[in-house]
Each structure stands twice: as structure tokens, then as C-alpha cells.
Symmetry: none
Subunit: 252 residues, 2 copies
DNA sequence: TAAGGTTGTCTTTCACATAGAACAACTGGG
DNA sequence: CCCAGTTGTTCTATGTGAAAGACAACCTTA
């Protein structure tokens, strides 16, 4: 059985894992990387499969191989996406006041699936507004947002409003937003979102699902957010408070 | 179809396209869907390929097929269960009071890498205690924890302590824990953690990195946690507070 | 120079993906 | 009732993914 749900070829999964590790700087360019036989044993695959993955990495310019000598990771280089600028980019987003571009890909009224109906607290099949947006910074997409809103709430604004203003601002024109519930998880990029986020199918994405409640306790919005982990992370501070943790701050 | 070199099997690409269309309500449940031959012509694939996609859709409960009669989409509300156990198991963990087993895989003093040194606030190469644990519930592993502690802190307890008590409890015997910083992201399962978490290589994992500070502001502990997204999610409540979100509660 | 390790290249074998085709079993409408 | 249309089933054939192994070419080091 394929737990991942995506029937990606073995060599491609090995490639994705190794590429992630090389890009993280996990291999010192001055130290010989593990040999093909060793990788094959680690991954429990044949050497041919490892070789296919390594050939792809070499074409990407991420590693250097030489017969008899071994395989070496390339130096991170100037444009290296180290883990430091992870935080950097998040802080940029916040301090710059979210200087990002938003592209509206879909905006339609659709019948609610069972899952969406459960999130919004409507009956399955009820008409709901679904909008899909991609948010970018400097032309690079980093988040993929799918939003569902009950029909009566959605009718208060149109497609143009959504392309310009944040949805939350639109909602707050008519509603008192009280609280939200978030579930954070991870998921693989599928064929739909991968090109929109400019990642490969099978790449790891941060998955945040949020329900927004108004003052009456009604769900007025459900958001499914997918983030590129190399460009966006979720940061939380916790304070120790009598044997328990309580949160201190989160993003907005 | 898509000849962009994507390594997804054809039948799976057809499945993804059709699933999206069915979920969007594009097929009236009262009207016969196009026949297998017609789909094959539309997608420019063989009928066998179309049939595999349709079989998957039928297993998902999204369509109904009958020999001689045809294929019909099911009513929008009748979608497959799919991701219910996400929330289910998490609630189990909390209500059962975290009835989990912990297995200590590694317990060693190692020289700090540059990355770990940065997290702990020590010089690179300094000796630090590294422990790797896997936490399971009912025999199923759901989290993989790598912990680093400065040497002088780690010397206060031994391997046996760690196998029994939570690390935080051990630390609080001698320290005043003040706060923590968490970074939440996503990462692919590599050859090391995949077997320990009983997932496939290349599966998506939830990645939480935590720095724990004592009252003096020193980093006492750094934790790298990997969670199986099908068994564990991170939940946060937010309250709307004067145009901003502030957190309400988190896990501990 | 010699030895051992590393990547490059070539087998063989098996399983699966896909195409193309024919036929069987079944349904609904004229 | 019969027939056209639909899904179910079973063939053949080809290409790719993958494992396992053997050997060649090459580099580094003792």
C-alpha cells in the first residue's frame, strides 16, 4: 500500500528526499557523501534507483560526481536557501506589513462536500462560495489558499473585492469576528497545487486549516492554507505557566 | 494529457482530474456520465486507464457504476470519509491523558554541528547531549523526537532517567523553565526516520522545532519533532483582539 | 606500484503501466 | 422481445520501473 497516496516512482521519491537534504546544507561540500551502495542500503532500494536519483541531482547542479573519487555536495552558493532566512522571510512579511501579491484563481459557488459542510456547519450539498488564491512575494508563490464561505455571507461581496482586499477585512465589514480554530499538519503537493506553488509533485507542504467564528459562534469562513516550507514557517512563542505551556504570540 | 515529464502514472492523473470535477459537482447525479470509451477518447488514453481511474473513484464513493446502465456521480454530500481520523486520534491522545509509550533510540554526547550550536547558543563542536526518542500509542509510532541539551545540563541525569520520565520534568528539577520558541514546518521522511515512524520514504511529516529557555534566557534544550500527519496535528485557538489575532491555547 | 573503494556500464529477471482489441453480461427503451 | 449501448472480463503486446549482480574504468592513498 502507498501510504503517501501519490504513486510516485521510487527513484523520484529518493530524489526528493536527497534534494531536500542537500538544499538544507546537510552534506558538507568538503566531505565525501555516502556512496551509492550505502545510499541503496539506507533507503532499502537498489543501486540503480539511487543512481537515477543522483543523476537528477547532478543535472540540477546540486552535486558533483566523479568516477573513482566519489560524490560531493555543491557549495551552498550565494542564492542558497538556508534555514536562517526562513525566519527572515516570515519577519519580512510581518514587518513589511505583508507586501505580497495575491492572485485569484477561482471564485465560484459550488455545492458543499461533506467535509466542507462539516467545517462550515451547513448541510452537505448547500451552495457555498469557494475561492482559491495564491499569495506571492517578489513573484515567488509561497501560499495556496482555498476559502469556503456560506452563501449568504459570500453574497455581500464580489469577485473584484476579493481580488483586492483581504477576505477578513471584507468579512469584518458586516460581522464581528470572535475567534478561530486552527489545525496544523503536513501534506504532499498534488498535481493541482504543485504548479501553482512552483514546487514538484510530492514535495512537503505545511498545511493549516482554519475555522473563523463570529460573535454568535457561527463559522463564517473556512480556510485551507498550503505553505511552501522553504519560504514560510509558522512561529509560536510559549510561556511556562504553572506546569503548563500557554501561547504567547502567533502570526496574524 | 500532460507530457511534462511528471512521473505520475496516467491512470492517477485521470483520477485526479475526474475526482476534482466530481467534487465540484460538475456531473449531475441524475444524468448518465460519459461512457468509458468517450472518456478514453477525451483524455486520449486507453479504456483500461480510464477504468482504473473510475474504479478508484468508485472506491472513494464518488461515483456509482452499473453494468449495462452506466456511470453516475453521487450526490455532493456523500463524499468518502478520508481524513476523519486526523482529529479523532488527536482527541484520543488528549483525553486518554497521553497514554503513550516512549522508546529511547539514542543517547550520546556528540560535538555540536553549526546548526545545533546556533540553536543551543554554544560554540560549534562543543559537546552536547543528543537523545532520539520515538513516541507511540497502542504500538503505532506517531512522533520522532531529537533532543539536544548542553553538556553541563545533560550531566545531571542519565540514560535511565530519560527512558522513564519526560525530559521537561528532568530539566525542571534543577532549572526554572521560562518560555519556548517554536517553528512549525513540513519535511519529507528520509531513510532514517521513515522506518521508525512506519511511513514510506518521501511521506510528508509535520516538523516542529522548539527552543526552551530558562529564567535567565539561556537555551536549556532544543527539540526537533517529526509527527505523522495522519496521527497527530497541531491545534491552536485564536481570539480576535482589536484587529489582531492572539493565541488562546496550545498543546503542552 | 598495488590495493581498495567509487562511479560507470552492462547483463537478467520480474512486476506493473498502457494500448488495443475482442467478447461476455447486463440494462433500458422502442 | 430485441437491440443498441454500457460496464465487466480476458486476451496479446510493448515500454518502463526496479532488483540483483558482474564487470570495467577511474581515483586516492598507503
Amino acid at each position: 500500500m502507498d501510504e503517501a497516496g501519490l504513486p510516485l516512482p521510487l527513484y523520484h521519491r529518493v530524489y526528493l528526499v536527497l534534494r531536500q537534504q542537500v538544499e538544507e546544507g546537510r552534506f558538507d561540500p568538503a566531505v565525501k557523501m555516502p556512496g551509492e551502495h550505502e545510499f541503496a542500503a539506507d533507503f532499502r532500494v537498489s543501486r540503480i534507483t539511487v543512481r537515477r536519483a543522483l543523476e537528477m541531482l547532478e543535472r540540477d547542479g546540486l552535486i558533483r560526481r566523479k568516477r573513482g573519487a566519489g560524490t560531493y555536495a555543491r557549495a551552498p552558493g550565494a542564492a542558497a536557501p538556508q534555514r536562517d532566512n526562513l525566519r527572515g522571510l516570515l519577519e519580512n512579511l510581518l514587518t513589511m506589513g505583508l507586501r505580497t501579491q495575491v492572485r485569484l484563481l477561482e471564485f465560484d459557488y459550488v455545492p458543499a462536500t461533506a467535509e466542507v459542510a462539516g467545517l462550515l456547519g451547513v448541510v452537505p450539498g448547500a451552495s457555498v462560495l469557494r475561492a482559491v488564491r495564491v499569495r506571492s512575494t517578489e513573484g515567488v508563490p509561497f501560499s495556496h489558499l482555498t476559502t469556503w464561505v456560506p452563501e449568504d455571507v459570500g453574497r455581500r461581496f464580489g469577485r473584484d473585492d476579493m481580488a483586492e482586499k483581504p477576505l477578513l477585512a471584507l468579512l469584518e465589514q458586516h460581522e464581528r469576528i470572535a475567534r478561530a480554530e486552527q489545525t496544523i499538519s503536513a501534506i504532499l503537493a498534488d498535481a493541482t497545487v504543485a504548479p501553482r506553488l512552483q514546487v514538484e509533485i510530492g514535495a512537503a507542504l505545511l498545511w493549516v486549516r482554519r475555522q473563523v467564528f463570529n460573535a454568535e459562534g457561527r463559522v463564517i469562513e473556512a480556510i485551507d492554507s498550503l505553505y511552501r516550507p522553504d519560504l514560510y514557517t509558522y512561529q509560536i512563542g510559549l510561556v511556562r505557566d504553572g506546569g503548563l505551556w500557554s501561547p504567547q504570540s502567533a502570526d496574524s
